[in-house]
Amino acid sequence: MLPLEQIKTRIESAVSGAKIDIVANGGPSQQASLLIDNEHAVAIARFLRDDPELRLDFCSNVTGVDWLDRTIKKTVKVKQVVDAVEKEVDETRQEVIPGYLEAVYHLYSIARKHGPLIIRMRTTDRAAETRLPSLTPLWRSAEFQEREIFDLYGIYFEGHPDLRRILMWDEFEDYPMRKDYREPDDYEYEPTPHGDVLEKAKRHYALRPQLDGAENIVEPLDR
């Protein structure tokens, strides 16, 4: 397959306005990836699929990753006026990198038998803006996998034909694969209609005719 830099320039020349960053991978696997912007994601993905050189027709793996807020401590030299003398003083600054959710796609080509090309999309934050464009219209294999990300991470895929929970039950409220997910104390607890049924049953008993007095009969103890 072409090196990532070349793929990047090819995409940028084909899709006008596309912003692409190469995300380096320091590990021995050397699987670097392309971070594509959400606005042009569908156009970029379509180019990757249809370009005769790349022909990435097989979207193998789609998954989500949760990145929490990170604080980075930096030591910066700052000029300060101490006792009317200008000095250079070390100052530690904390920089907070806001967290985000990420969707990662592993693309292969069956026609050209190469791959993987890894593309990723990021949401702006983890709470309010967790929307990403869906790539299911391009690769059908993303259908269940994007549903799974929606289910477990809470990314809303816009343009997905059938975005519902898939592994958890429909009434479930949280997103269990998020890093800050707290497990409930009682796993088994689930509100059931049993309470309502019991209430109805009690009202039913109250309407019964009065008791016949049999419960008052006490067996003599000394028999």
């Binding site: 320091g26 021995p28 696997s29 998954t63 059908r140 294999s141 309407l207």
Partner: protein, 388 residues
């Protein structure tokens, strides 16, 4: 009093007529999760027009235990026995896929003998998986018991091999990062060779029973046809993809392990129907036997573990890796992100049978309810892997 009034009111209602005809309306039926042919707890919401399927929505999650979250909360090695439980028919290939991904992530090399042992065990797994799949599929078609017992007789011999090597029939937990856990003795290899040598007899016998069977042909040919375009787009892998005539086998494409050293052919189907999917398994078993025979001849002596791998406090460098193998059911991949700690930051399983179910509705539309079971059987799912 009030109870009596209610009864009188009920009596004055018009009498209920006999069941009215549906008049072309669709009938919604929930098939499963408890159904003998769903291979576990799998449910399909089916809309039926008479006996014809008009809509089919699979419902998952009855076996969901959030395997991936548990993988994130466990050390790298701690997940190895847990991968056995994904596709509990093929624990050896699950181990291999996971070990391969971690080896990519940490840059570990595997000794020669261990690679050969991995190939031997993966192909034995393929034999027993495909054999039992054929048995199950015939069982779904109404050939109760007999073909399944034929298949399980052979499977049992291979599981005995697994047991004598790893200590467990199905939950083998055999592979490690940088090698395998225990070495195979010369006697074990001789016994394995004997079993593999006899396997073609079983295949001959089994194929004689099924290939020209009139009922089987009527039930499977032109049922559940899948076009190669849809198969590629929907990420279908494994024998199901090759039954459509798409030549894509990760053993050849990626050439992981020592597969480039072996000579074998990739059987391809033509029609993409259930019959082709079924035959694909039978033909693949023949190729597996050929790989196994070559492996038994070539396997060298030597160590089975890379001595440089730290077993305790195993911390791969920061980075990510996606490793995949050709499991009997399709492409099994593991996507791992390491942040340098003893646990993976992200542990993702790419389950082949889950993604192969994407097109279940497309395959079943227009066929009868009885065909749904046959089509589902030919997809080859294991719920431990689908729901994770």
């Amino acid at each position: 009093m009030s109870a009596i009034v209610e009864t009188i009111e009920a009596m004055e209602r018009p009498p209920v007529t006999m069941t009215s005809r549906l008049e072309g309306e669709l009938l919604e039926v929930s098939m499963g999760p408890q159904h003998p042919s769903t291979h576990g707890v799998f449910r399909m919401n089916v809309a039926l027009d008479g006996e014809i399927v008009r809509k089919l929505k699979p419902v998952f999650g009855y076996l969901h235990r959030n395997h991936e979250k548990i993988g994130e909360n466990t050390s790298y090695l701690g997940s190895m026995p847990y991968t056995d439980r994904l596709d509990y028919f093929c624990s050896m290939t699950n181990n291999w896929a996971y070990a391969l991904s971690v080896e990519k992530l940490a840059g570990i090399e595997v000794p020669e003998r261990a690679e050969y042992l991995r190939v031997v065990l993966a192909e034995l797994t393929r034999l027993q998986n495909h054999a039992s799949l054929l048995g199950f599929l015939l069982s779904d078609m109404g050939a109760w018991g007999t073909p399944l017992m034929y298949a399980f007789r052979e499977r049992e011999k291979i599981l005995d091999l697994f047991e004598s090597l790893s200590g467990s029939r199905m939950m083998c937990d055999y592979m490690r990062f940088g090698g395998c856990r225990v070495d195979a003795s010369a006697e074990w290899l001789a016994r394995a060779k004997e079993i593999v040598d006899r396997f073609p007899n079983f295949l001959d016998e089994f194929e004689k029973l099924i290939v020209e069977n009139e009922i089987l042909i009527a039930r499977t040919q032109n049922v559940g046809k899948l076009s190669p375009q849809l198969a590629i787009s929907a990420g279908i892998t494994g024998p199901m993809l090759r039954a459509c005539g798409v030549n894509y086998d990760i053993r050849k494409v990626d050439g992981y392990g020592y597969y480039p050293r072996f000579q074998f052919r990739i059987p391809l189907g033509e029609h993409g129907d259930t019959y082709d999917r079924l035959m694909m398994r039978a033909l693949e078993m023949r190729e597996s036997i050929s790989i196994l025979n070559q492996a038994f001849e070539q396997i060298p002596a030597g160590p089975i573990m890379n001595p440089k791998v730290k077993v305790r406090a195993f911390r791969p460098p920061v980075g990510e890796a996606y490793g995949r193998i050709e499991a009997p059911k399709g492409e099994l991949g593991f996507y791992l992100i390491s942040d340098g700690s003893p646990n993976p930051y992200r542990y993702r399983v790419r389950p082949p049978s889950f993604i192969n179910l994407t097109i279940l509705e497309d395959l079943c539309l227009g066929h009868t309810v009885a065909d749904v079971m046959v089509i589902l059987g030919s997809v080859d799912i294991v719920m431990g892997e689908v729901d994770r």
